[in-house]
């Protein structure tokens, strides 16, 4: 039985490894609630002694007069029932608010990734083809610049130029304030709002994809099978895209999954700059409003998304490259 289903065994092992990670994040949340200065009640439900009845009820609900391990048990039990707490600021359960904001973040992310992957790979292939030329050096320098730029400043610059100076695109939000007719005009309206944040968001990942593609392509182009392909008389374009790129692409695909934590951090800044109504903007609003249960809830959801993204990446990688599962 043992070696029969290496992929399945590998997947199960990876899923089991992911469980303690989530538990670890829950412990961090719990520790912070109790270590932070002030009453845990503030952090659990933004409730203070100012409202004695709600306060007493909350202390009972979370067992705040009981020993810590009981409190931890209650906290875990609530989380297991998808109860991430209640936001007094939004006047509704934390999880509901987060889920409401998720689609906007997903739309932004998907658009940005498509731009970043496509441009990054194409530029990376071109740079590797003309290795160490002036253009290659310039592209490398540009990618270093993109990497060194605070993403929110890039967003501000794009707003200043394209939205305020040229007045081509809207600077804030996802929809126009004045109502737009439903149907295509509405879709077009969202697309117009999407463009600048997507470019901002994509820049960082494009530099990452570019660097990795370029490096892997150089590595692959130096291998024997490329020489064979060339000496068979295949034309260069075919060697570059069919032979080399195929082998170089795998690490490029996984880079986004592995860097998902940075991806999420990027969404916070992009959405804050552009007032994009997603989960990233929600964290900024929650900081300003001191909506502590919401901040903790987002941290938990983001951590789970990251664990999940890593998991999917690893399993996908094992499916594409069977050697991984056997090791």
């Amino acid at each position: 039985m043992a070696g029969d289903y290496p992929l399945l065994r590998y997947s199960v092992r990876r899923i089991l490894q992911a469980v303690p990670l989530i538990f670890w994040v829950v412990i961090i949340n719990f520790t912070i609630i109790h270590l932070a200065p002030g009453d845990p009640a503030i952090y659990l439900a933004s409730v203070t002694e100012a409202t004695p009845e709600a306060y007493a009820e909350l202390r009972k609900e979370f067992g705040l007069d009981k020993p810590l391990y009981v409190q931890m048990g209650i906290y875990l039990w609530k989380l297991l029932h998808l109860d991430l707490g209640y936001s007094t600021w939004h006047n509704s359960p934390v999880l509901g608010v987060i889920l409401d904001r998720l689609p906007a973040t997903m739309l932004l992310m998907a658009t940005a990734f498509s731009i970043a992957s496509l441009m990054g790979v194409v530029l990376g292939v071109i740079a590797s083809r003309y290795s160490y030329s002036v253009g290659d050096h310039l592209a490398t320098l540009a990618s270093l610049a993109g990497y060194s730029m605070p993403i929110f400043w890039l967003g501000q610059l794009l707003i200043l130029f394209f939205a305020l100076y040229l007045d081509w695109l809207p600077s804030q939000g996802m929809y126009s304030m004045r109502g737009v007719e439903p149907g295509w005009p509405a879709v077009l309206d969202v697309l117009k709002h999407l463009l600048l944040p997507a470019i901002t968001y994509a820049t960082y990942h494009m530099t990452l994809v570019f660097r990795i593609t370029r490096g892997k392509m150089q590595e692959t182009l130096a291998q024997d099978f490329i020489l064979t392909a060339k000496s068979k008389g295949l034309n260069e374009r075919r060697v570059l895209y069919r032979h080399a790129l195929r082998n170089a692409l795998l690490p490029v695909v996984t880079v986004i999954g592995i860097n998902f934590a940075y991806v999420m951090a990027g969404s916070v800044f992009t959405e804050t700059v552009f007032g994009w109504p997603g989960m990233g903007r929600l964290i900024f609003e929650s900081i300003t409003a001191r909506d502590y249960p919401m901040i903790l809830g987002i941290f938990l959801v983001v951590s789970m998304m990251i664990v999940l993204a890593n998991l999917i990446t690893d399993i996908l990688y094992a499916m594409i490259d069977p050697r991984v599962a056997y090791n």
Binding site: I32, A145, S148, P150, F152, W153, Q156, A261, M264, A265
Partner: protein, 299 residues
């Protein structure tokens, strides 16, 4: 992401002391002197902020509110009539201070854990590496954000949050360096002649690992500056101090009226981080000519 590994002059390293080889490599490298002098200029500018800044960075009414460029305010004034140029100089002080302090704390912590782990190996290594792994899987930026949001946005909390979350990477780099160096002949030789363990670590192995550590420290400073700017931009900066990130946070509502409030501080962050990244790359070419890829992480 090195563009080209500069060849090291191996001949002189065989004959003379090691610094000659290093100097030889430095003289062939263009990135290090350029980035190094740029960094020096930046540091001098912010260091002499008290002398160079025309106004008190916190004084209201040094210019007219949201006033543009003028002889009085060469980079304009902000929404409270404070001089942007003065705030830029003073803000850079804090930003760069946070960057270097966090990088320093991170490097010390990372060196400590990495050295113990890499030199001793065995079960000590196992335990320490498990420990660092648990740190590495947490989304760093979000935890830093929570620490600062819950424990207060003082500059020390920010430095603490950044270093406590970045040291695992440094520790792993130092560890892997120690693991390979530990098995080298010159270390065996030192063992054989009865050299003390501490002497082997500090006099034999560490000097050989220092190149990697220096490169890492340069990149860490850049990262820490970006992280601090990010936290400040979200309103989690130290409220009593001006930093470049905080200036961008304050500029956000006034983009339409005063572009200068956003452009200059952002330029400060961008140039400093770029300089530090260039320096890291250049140093990597000079000090670790064999490695082509350097360890890099984002926010």
């Amino acid at each position: 992401m090195t563009t080209s590994a500069e060849p090291v002059d191996h001949q002189s390293s065989n004959r003379g002391p090691q610094w000659r080889a290093i100097w030889g490599a430095f003289s062939q490298n263009r990135a290090v002197p350029i980035a190094g002098s740029l960094l020096l200029v930046l540091i001098l500018l912010v260091l002499f902020a008290p002398l160079l800044a025309p106004y008190d960075p916190y004084a209201l009414g040094s210019g007219s509110r949201l006033g543009g460029h003028s002889f009085r305010n060469i980079m304009g004034a902000d929404n409270l009539g404070r001089d942007v140029f003065s705030r830029l100089l003073w803000g850079g002080r804090v930003s760069i201070f946070v960057g270097f302090s966090a990088a320093f704390a991170t490097t010390v912590l990372g060196l400590l854990v990495g050295t113990i782990s890499g030199y001793l190996g065995g079960w000590v290594d196992d335990i320490l590496m498990r420990f660092t792994e648990t740190f590495m899987v947490i989304p760093r930026f979000f935890l830093a954000l929570i620490i600062v949001a819950f424990f207060g946005a003082s500059i020390w909390n920010i430095i603490f949050a950044i270093s406590i979350l970045t040291w695992p990477v440094t520790a792993r780099i130092v560890r892997s360096e120690f693991l390979t160096l530990r098995t080298r002949q010159f270390v065996d030789a030192a063992h054989v002649i009865g050299t003390k363990r501490s002497t082997i670590i500090f006099r034999e192995i560490l000097p050989n690992a220092i190149g990697v550590v220096v490169v890492n420290a340069s990149l860490l400073t850049a990262q820490a500056m970006l992280l601090e700017a990010g936290l400040s931009y979200l309103g989690l900066g130290d409220p009593s101090l001006v930093t470049w990130g905080r200036m961008l946070y304050e500029a956000q509502p006034f983009l339409r009226q005063a572009w200068w409030m956003a452009v200059y501080p952002g330029l400060g962050i961008f140039l400093s981080v770029l300089t530090l990244n260039l320096l890291g790359d250049g140093l990597n070419d000079v000090l670790n000519p064999r490695s082509s890829e350097i360890h890099r992480t984002g926010l």
